[in-house]
């Protein structure tokens, strides 16, 4: 378990990161101070201030679905609370002249979604978290 203080758009967050099976998952994000003047939008989506990732559910296990390549979210195929199976299409990323299907590597329930259609993402961005 590691704790960080990070700043996004002038808002300071207290983030607790817990190591789950070698996968770093953001388990708690708490704004520590009100936003000041919003600077230009950052290119990297770190966390959504309006939708903080909830703490891990009762099982305590969350699998972070990360963007495998830089691109734009073309289509969302699942919703928060939805059960997903291994191999199920989660979303489509428009990147490298291709509509890339991102399929689930794990079975579980979608506990949070960090992106919307049209958002730009870079390699490694956490797109959603699956409760195992």
């Amino acid at each position: 378990m590691k704790e960080y203080r990070i700043k996004v758009n002038g808002t300071s967050y207290h983030v607790v990161v817990e190591d789950v099976n070698g996968v770093s998952a953001v388990t708690d994000v708490t704004p520590t101070q009100a936003p000041i003047t919003p600077p230009p939008a950052p290119e990297v989506v770190v966390a959504q201030p309006t939708a903080p990732t909830p703490p891990a559910a009762s099982t305590g296990e969350g699998f972070a679905v990360k963007s495998p390549l830089p691109g734009t979210i073309f289509e969302m195929c699942v919703q928060v609370g939805q059960k997903v199976a291994v191999g199920q299409k989660l979303l489509v990323i428009d990147a490298m002249k291709m509509e890339n299907n991102l399929v689930s590597e794990k079975a579980g329930t979608i506990s949070s979604i960090n992106v919307n259609k049209g958002d730009s993402v870079v390699e490694g961005d956490v797109l959603m978290v699956i409760d195992l």
């Binding site: 490298m96 002249k97 291709m98 890339n100 390699e123």
Partner: protein, 519 residues
Amino acid sequence: MAMQDKIKELLDRRVEARLGGGEKRIEKQHSQGKYTARERVAMLLDEGSFEEFGMFVTHRSTNFGMEKESYLSDGVVTGYGTIDGRLVYVFAQDFTVFGGSLSETNALKICNVLDLAMKMGAPVIGINDSGGARIQEGVNSLAGYASIFQRNILASGVVPQISVIFGPCAGGAVYSPALTDFIMMAKNSSYMFLTGPKVVKTVTGEDVTTESLGGAEVHSTRSGVAHFVAENEKEGLATIRRLLSYLPSNNMETAPEMPNNDPIERYDNKLNDIIPDNPNKPYDVKDVILGIVDNREFLEVAPAYAKNLVIGFARMGGMSVGVVANQPSYLAGVLDINASRKGARFVRFCDAFNIPLVTLVDVPGFLPGTGQEYGGIIVQGAKMLYAYGEATVPKVTVTLRKSYGGSHIVMSCKQLRGDINYAWPTAEIAVMGAEGAVEVLYSKEIKANADPEKQAEAYAEKKKEYNDLFCNPYNAAKYGYIDDVIEPRNTRYRVIKALQSLQTKRLENPPKKHDNLPL
């Protein structure tokens, strides 16, 4: 002693040697779902073909009371036999004897097998199941490892070397497999790492298990160290036999031809519909591979690592070929660091062993981003470029769809001495995509018009102009960069005919001590 007694002594000694570290330890090996060294060799080779060497070798150490304990064969089973009637050399570490640890004498046995394989021009298969160096022997054990490594290095590119990991393989021991051509691991019973979980814990504080640090899954998906993963040992050894069927015995031979009943002129009608109407939609390139190779048989290498590039062995018209194909259904089929390394090593293996290359191209480009650039994609991508440019084996390329920019060049293009380059009518060969190109060429001109609707119209018009000009195979064919545009369902026939015409290809690179590829 009478003759009969002497013969009985020999037979008794053989029985003792075959017991390795004794029945108890054999039972323990079996209870873990593992076979003994001699059982593995027997499963790997043609029945009854194994001829063993050095059965009566024992260690020479007297340190730490070692003189009181010794076993015949000293923890490694070595010899030769046949696979599908072809000569191969094998060594198999015996975990029941001192945990398969490497001693001076046991290393000498392995070196002997490697020397013979080199002299005879036959493949070597090493089955690893060892706790590491035999600590009691100190520096002699290290010398043993080094002697093996040196032979692995000299044999590289001369005879195929295959490493099978059916147990622990840790510390310096990992470098012998690493120097060989292919590594096979068994699920749940094998692991490889340089430093174990305990050392990792003290140095970096990370809590890891042997499985999460160096298990078959880690090495087949994340590190790319393992080329094949087997559910169990039996399946693993069967895969090794299959792999060898695609390989020649040494670099002076070609792989055995295996005529079969799949007609070379067989159409695969499905290929005429495989490319989606929307060029941005993915499809599975493995369907194309299976559609064109003999009897839909394809031995994929490293299937779970860098899935954006598919590599493996197949036969076409009975000839063994190495297939390299971009996979549009994974990461858009981009070339990234991992795919480049994976592809480059495969291409160089095929070139070293006279296996023709069939390249299926559908690549949008190199993956952009800091992760890639900081990771040295310039140098890593250059490996693939180098490998194709250096290769003198027959090279047949089919561009299925996208082939853009630098990645077009890398994927066995005409100027990298691609012998015969075909394209499907769906091919798009250009410096970059229409979107980017129009942005560079016309954005100033288009943005001069303030009306956004007019702008969009102008963009669309220019994009269409660009696509009409470049997003087809005919522009490249006009300049001779594509030899012919072929009907997809007829790809099998055209590629086999091309390969047949290239069988007498002679091409040599300039003499040099060795090359200096961008490592």
